[in-house]
Subunit: 351 residues, 2 copies
Amino acid sequence: MCETSPIYTEPMATLSDVAARAGVSVSAVSRVLSKSPSSRVSDATRRRIEDAARELDYRPNFAARALKLSRTNVIALVVPDVTNAIFSELMRGIDERAQELGYMVLLARAESMQHQAESLAHLVGQSKVDGVIVQLGDSMTTAYLTALVQSQIPALVVNSRRLGGVGSVTLPDEAGAAAAVQHLASLGHRRIGLVGGLASTDSAQRRATGFAGAMADAGLPVPAEYLTGFGYESAQGRAALSQLATLVEPPSAIVVANINAAFGVLLEAHAHGIRVPEDLSIVALHDAWTADNTWPPLTTVRMPLYELGKASMAAMFERIHSGVITDVVITDPAPELVLRESTSVYRRVFN
Amino acid sequence: MCETSPIYTEPMATLSDVAARAGVSVSAVSRVLSKSPSSRVSDATRRRIEDAARELDYRPNFAARALKLSRTNVIALVVPDVTNAIFSELMRGIDERAQELGYMVLLARAESMQHQAESLAHLVGQSKVDGVIVQLGDSMTTAYLTALVQSQIPALVVNSRRLGGVGSVTLPDEAGAAAAVQHLASLGHRRIGLVGGLASTDSAQRRATGFAGAMADAGLPVPAEYLTGFGYESAQGRAALSQLATLVEPPSAIVVANINAAFGVLLEAHAHGIRVPEDLSIVALHDAWTADNTWPPLTTVRMPLYELGKASMAAMFERIHSGVITDVVITDPAPELVLRESTSVYRRVFN
DNA sequence: TTACAGTGATCAAACGATTGAGCTAAAGAA
DNA sequence: TTCTTTAGCTCAATCGTTTGATCACTGTAA
């Protein structure tokens, strides 16, 4: 089961190796290879240096560079839950832009940071990373956030505003919720409920606002008992539908503020013998590949998560390099309805 | 929208700051704080140093340490697809053990590494990371792998063996497939099909072997047309069922080698009007929270992914510190059937 | 002839930690 | 008293880069 391998790993070529081979000084090599604009070098030596570097397969030593320049070109991404389908699109956006900007992403699961704020401080204090992008979750304490703000860490919060001292990048939550309402209204639904997030969270508030606004625009009433706000996870979606189902006159359609909660809603509907979409139309915010796997497949509103990621990394870059703290709202592309099979035209069941 | 913040970020305290405050030399501080066993220091000075360090909130500079010791205590995890539900359990295991061992994990999406092997070489060549754990995907070229082997990088492949020069950690694939078969057989099914992975991959082969073995043990025939092997993704699951459904005498139950493919199987079943589990029982390898969201919820065989992650990190640690290359198979816990609603007792439809 | 600007390269001091070797004083041995 | 040992420190080199300061040289102007 085991086998020892002699490790012949000849050490990487360094600047001075290249310098020796090219017959020049270390500084000349450094200036040429790091393409510094102030490099007054003759074409001949430049070529000799580049050749030598290529022949020795030279790669700059990350640690040495980081030490000298006191920046690592690495940023940390803190997410509450890697399992979340939403995270992966976000990650993809961040990663892509990071690569363009010459950065790498260190993924940190929030759960793994036991003494959370402290861990973050370590990350930056040790100058392992140049900045931190945090995707807020319901579980993140405010203590964590204030600690984050107080530390002078370049930080950025994704999809949550009203935090002084750290930047933010936010989704068009109102527009997304409104799009969902408009879809249902256009199908003839008048009794539309909301399965929302925790009222304490910023995004849940915005989605609720968008929902209310669109209902008003459509001239539809919103009874208080049609509004729930248990949270974004599956179990909380179940709880919400379970409550809505007991109403004397239950909604004929609901907007679910998060796709994960919608999974729970669907399960609970099955459990209650509520047929989707015949008895109840469901549209959820956020699109993900998992929406195809439910029965019926979920109609969703796709939110620009990929762009959220890209913009986050861009804002982080700005913050690091110019100290500018921005609050960005993604508007392009706009939330887009993805029609599947969980919504249908309203049929008067109480005819 | 923008607001500039003056950055008062006073630089981190260094060893010499601590030394100055404690009135001792830098080396004394280093020896005390890095708890080196060869530190002959009086209790008095030790206490002075520790106090000074605490007061200044000293944290060792990562880059400096990495430069001097030429190791970073960071490993890279390369995954084909962050979206994959399987990945998150694996990641959790790796991350947890990494933390115990004083390591951090740099997540690298394989898709983001355009010139893949080259990127890897960069990662290690620059000594950004001490080693690389690779979760193989269908899309990973053999060129990539041979490059990985040839480089002297401490590397480890997850769930794929037969690679000289790099270690491996593998799931109990045969046992998992066998457990699935046994469950179906115990329900009275005799015509059992396999929706497998690509025959070129190691894990697909082992699962196919486990399937065949268990079928033989149960005294059940396996017609060649009951065996498919399109791949582990949803679309390929659809393709597989679409093919199986055309058979004159289709299977009454199938084992799907991967839960993601099972989602596709389920969709295709719906499309064909095949009722699950009445007309077709389905059991999939790998459990994930998404299995609860399908209709009907999927019966699965839970594979020890978390333990796979932990073992991987442990093996990586071994590899880095003692050069020992191991091939580990996870046996504990054994694959476990998670009963949901996609399987039921066989009823003779052709009576 | 002397001075001076400009070019192309080198020197050397950092960055912050680690660590083998060397130093000093006190204690013990001869 | 003198020599050796040892506990308790400090010295100084080193890891690989970056970068302001410096230097040697050539060509030009005064």
